[in-house]
């Protein structure tokens, strides 16, 4: 059995799955249930200064749904904890006492003044929690008050606040980043410069879930008006994976521990985050859709995968795929793939043909000897992977790499086997060598 235990910044947990700071970790009762269910840790719902914030009493959540009402994406306009600080801290202390083997992280969001942070940090530390997460991510509501993503969008503020926290707390500091920026490396570098022990990402993305066309109003809305929310859930996973990988491979932040967040729904999603550099993962939406019991399936799936591949510990997975993430200009332009349709698996829906014909390279024949039959025309196929992406049958269409010495029928070039990228390509006016 693979060892799923995690040691992140010295914070130990029996598995790398933490519940993210969000509604599921708002109260003792929820957190107790989560830890009883087997979650490795929780990042407590963000606490702030008293008096507590007030939430809308209309809808806070909405979902992007598939036809069978499977949740694809999710958004919320809930603010940070709307309960008194003291209540949260007392509960946090009780939970940590009851579950000493789990990671209990306090998430904090207070105004951007040194005094505010100086005041709250010792109180939080007294709970016995294992670490602090700085909420520089929430894009709705709190950002209008100069907190959350309003801080996360200004690298100088990130660095400044992180420095205060490192100064006034002995606990590990995790800086939670907002994706509502143009280049995630900047806030990550600022966090590191401020002394952060780790970053966690992504927080939610600015979003409007939909428009109610009957009422001609955005949905959800409160008394006829709505505000943008924070988007999360399965649909944001690719965005999050990229941002995690960007930080993992940036020479300035490489090695900075990362807690990966964003749409993790299955063990596979979690494994992908780990391989792109995340040391732990945080989950929220999947729990809000299915309840806490999914932790059993997440752990079991990850464990089975690791066993099947011979990974013995989480460490062995972390960052494993990071070296494969490159700038585009490093990709081998001499490497050629062509699509191949497995005729035994093909169900002849013809979608590959029509999308290739209409939107790509006219490289899939629709008939053979007058019969309905879908086959790649290698003389036109550019290897774009569109057909693979839209084929409804798993593994029916695959990509085949042309072998050295093989002729690319499209270009008339023989595969040389040498590596050459854009930096040296003759079409590149700025080619660095010839």
């Amino acid at each position: 059995m693979a060892d799923l235990s995690s040691n992140f910044l010295g914070i130990k947990s029996p598995n790398p799955f933490w519940l993210a700071s969000a509604p599921p970790t708002d109260k003792e009762v929820n957190v107790m249930r989560a830890l009883e269910a087997g979650w490795g840790g929780v990042v407590w719902k963000t606490v702030g200064e008293d008096p507590p914030v007030v939430n809308v009493h209309g809808p806070r959540y909405a979902a992007l749904l598939g036809q069978d009402r499977r949740v694809i994406g999710f958004n919320n306009i809930e603010l940070i904890s709307d309960r008194p600080l003291k209540a949260n801290l007392e509960e946090m202390a009780r939970v940590k006492k009851r579950f000493p083997d789990r990671a209990i992280i306090a998430s904090i969001m207070v105004p951007c003044t040194e005094q505010a942070w100086k005041n709250i940090l010792p109180q939080v530390e007294d709970t016995g929690c294992d670490g602090i997460e700085l909420n520089f991510g929430c894009p709705h509501g709190m950002s209008e008050r100069g907190m959350g993503s309003a801080v996360g969008q200004v690298p100088e503020y990130i660095q400044m606040v992180t420095e205060w926290c490192k100064q006034y707390s002995r606990l590990p500091i995790i800086v939670k980043l907002t994706p509502n920026i143009t280049d995630i490396r900047m806030p990550a570098r600022a966090a590191k410069a401020g002394g952060a022990d780790a970053v966690s990402l992504i927080n939610t993305i600015n979003s409007i879930m939909s428009v109610d066309l009957e009422k001609m109003a955005i949905y959800p809305n409160t008394d006829g008006a709505g505000s943008h929310g924070g988007y999360c859930g399965y649909a944001v996973k690719p965005i999050a994976l990229n941002m995690v990988a960007e930080i993992a491979r940036d020479p300035e932040t490489a090695g900075l521990p990362i807690s990966g967040i964003g749409g993790i729904t299955t063990w596979r999603d979690a494994a992908e985050f780990l391989t792109l550099g995340a040391g732990t993962v945080q989950v929220c939406t999947a729990a809000m859709v299915y309840g806490f019991k999914i932790i059993e399936d997440l752990c079991d799936g990850l464990s089975s995968f690791m066993d099947s591949k011979g990974y013995q510990s989480i460490d062995q997975l972390v960052g494993k795929a990071v070296p494969t993430v490159k700038n585009w200009n490093q990709l081998n332009l001499n490497y050629v793939e062509k699509a191949v349709i497995n005729q035994d698996l093909c169900i002849k829906c013809g979608r590959c043909h029509i999308v290739c014909e209409d939107t790509s390279h006219q490289a899939i024949f629709a008939t053979k000897n007058g019969e309905r039959h879908f086959e790649i025309n290698e003389a036109e196929c550019v290897g774009c992977n569109l057909c693979v992406s839209i084929c409804p049958v798993p593994n029916c269409i695959t990509m085949r790499a042309l072998q050295v010495g093989e002729l690319d029928q499209r270009t008339g070039h023989t595969i040389s086997g040498t590596y050459a990228n854009w930096t040296t390509h003759p079409n590149n006016p700025g080619a660095s060598c010839s």
């Binding site: 013809g350 979608r351 629709a366």
Partner: protein
């Protein structure tokens, strides 16, 4: 004695609730949630095989996509523009050998998209709120066209012609319009008088005058109609019934399956319909299945379909055969009727000769068996009724010969539906015949 065990032919074999249950919708419609989930299963194939398999060429992927996108009216429009009787076809089409057989999902998982049920969902949604109208007539052409017969082919032809601006007169021998939609088909496939609702809607296009109780060859005559109209469409169906080819003594209990079915479709009170305790249906097509299953549902204790060839030759689909068996009908193959037995003018049984193929020819063997029967229903095919006296028309195989558009050998005369040579005798095919003929008539009249 229990009414259900009464020998001979009698009514009220069951209690009222059982009749109601037996003749309720055989395949209940999908609800909105089921329809959406099922619609999502459609792959939106390129040059979709289901569309190719549909005799009326409905753009099935599009109508299903519209259901998935909360646009059932648009879905219905897509269906009805190709098949004006799409509501009835959704109920009675043998989809298992048409669109659903062609569905690519069969290859992957042996479970096609439920196209028939989705078509029903779309058309039901539309008929529950049919305003504003989907179809409008174009400018009146001043042309008058006769449509003889108001089955699927005639109705389809009449509607398309009316849309194209022509004045249509429909002649129908029976008191009600609809042909087999009204007088044929199993009652549990189209309950709640759907056929008449659909026809009422179809006629709402305007420009269609209806003359019921008007039989060709009796109340109106072919030559007169050809003379008095700019064009004529014959959708006469097959009103004759093949005899068994053995001596048929005058007896209570020997009936044509089509008449038995028609009585059932027209009955206001099913408990008044008499049925035998032991029923034998002779034939291998849909009429045989419909008659046999409905006999069971009326309370017959033993119902046997006897077909002279093997299972693979039956024109009823495997799905329909299974449906019959699930309803307690026994199907016997390789037997041909030999002799009917009667007592006091009442049928008592029937003897069959075993058959087999000898050198490719169906041959009766000397061995035979007997079935007790107080009712025997003939369902061995219908024939073109010569009393229509449609002189001058080229015929083939006892049916009217036409080109692909339905044009007959006579100027001004088109034909379609079951009376047209070379068809499969399907409702949906009749609709296509009527539609294509209307388009051709319009083309000819406009270029004349």
């Amino acid at each position: 004695m229990l009414a259900s065990l009464q020998n001979g032919i009698c009514s009220a074999r069951l209690d009222l609730a059982t009749y109601q249950q037996n003749f309720a919708d055989a395949h209940p419609p999908l609800n909105a949630i089921q329809a959406k989930i099922e619609a999502e299963r459609c792959y939106y194939c390129f040059a979709a095989p289901c569309q190719t398999a549909c005799p009326t060429g409905i753009d099935i992927p599009s109508f299903i996509a519209r259901i998935a996108q909360d646009n059932p009216r648009g879905a219905a429009a897509k269906i009805l523009e190709e098949n004006i009787l799409g509501g009835m076809c959704a109920r009675v089409c043998p989809t298992e050998v048409l669109c659903e057989q062609a569905c690519v999902r069969n290859t992957n998982e042996d479970k096609p998209v439920e196209i028939g049920l989705l078509q029903r969902f779309a058309t039901d949604s539309f008929f529950s709120k049919p305003k504003p109208p989907l179809f409008k007539r174009t400018t009146d052409t001043g042309k008058k066209i006769a449509v003889v017969g108001s089955g699927p082919a005639g109705l389809s032809c009449a509607h398309r012609l009316a849309c194209l601006g022509h004045q249509v007169t429909v002649f129908e021998a029976k008191p009600k319009l609809g042909g087999l939609n009204e007088y044929g088909l199993a009652a549990y496939k189209t309950p709640n008088k759907f056929a008449q609702q659909e026809i009422e809607w179809l006629l709402s296009i305007g420009g269609i005058t209806v003359q019921t109780n008007t039989r060709l060859g009796k109340d109106v005559f072919f030559q007169d109609i050809v003379q008095n109209f700019d064009a004529v469409f014959l959708g006469l169906g097959l009103a004759g019934v093949n005899a068994l080819g053995i001596h048929e003594p005058e007896s209570v209990g020997l009936r044509n399956a089509v008449e038995f079915i028609a009585d059932l479709r027209q009955a206001e009170d099913l408990s008044q319909l008499p049925v035998g305790r032991k029923v034998v249906v002779i034939g291998g097509g849909m009429t045989a299945i419909d008659a046999a299953v409905q006999s069971r549902k009326l309370g017959a204790e033993e119902v046997t379909i006897v077909y002279r060839r093997g299972q693979e030759s039956m024109s009823a689909s495997e799905y329909e055969q299974a449906w019959a068996k699930n309803n307690g009908v026994k199907i016997r193959h390789w037997a041909a009727p030999l002799e009917l037995h009667t007592a006091n003018g009442q049928l008592t049984g029937i003897r069959f000769a075993y058959t087999q193929l000898v050198d490719g020819r169906l041959t009766q063997l000397p061995e035979s068996f007997q079935l007790e029967a107080d009712m025997v229903l003939r369902a061995i095919g219908q024939t073109f009724d010569s009393s229509h006296s449609v002189e001058g028309l080229a015929m083939q195989g006892g049916k009217i010969l036409t080109d692909a558009h339905g044009k007959t050998s006579l100027a001004k005369v088109w034909a379609g539906g079951d009376c047209r040579y070379g068809g499969k005798d399907l409702t949906v095919e009749g609709v296509q015949h009527g539609k294509l003929a209307a388009i051709d008539i319009d083309r000819v009249l406009r270029t004349a």
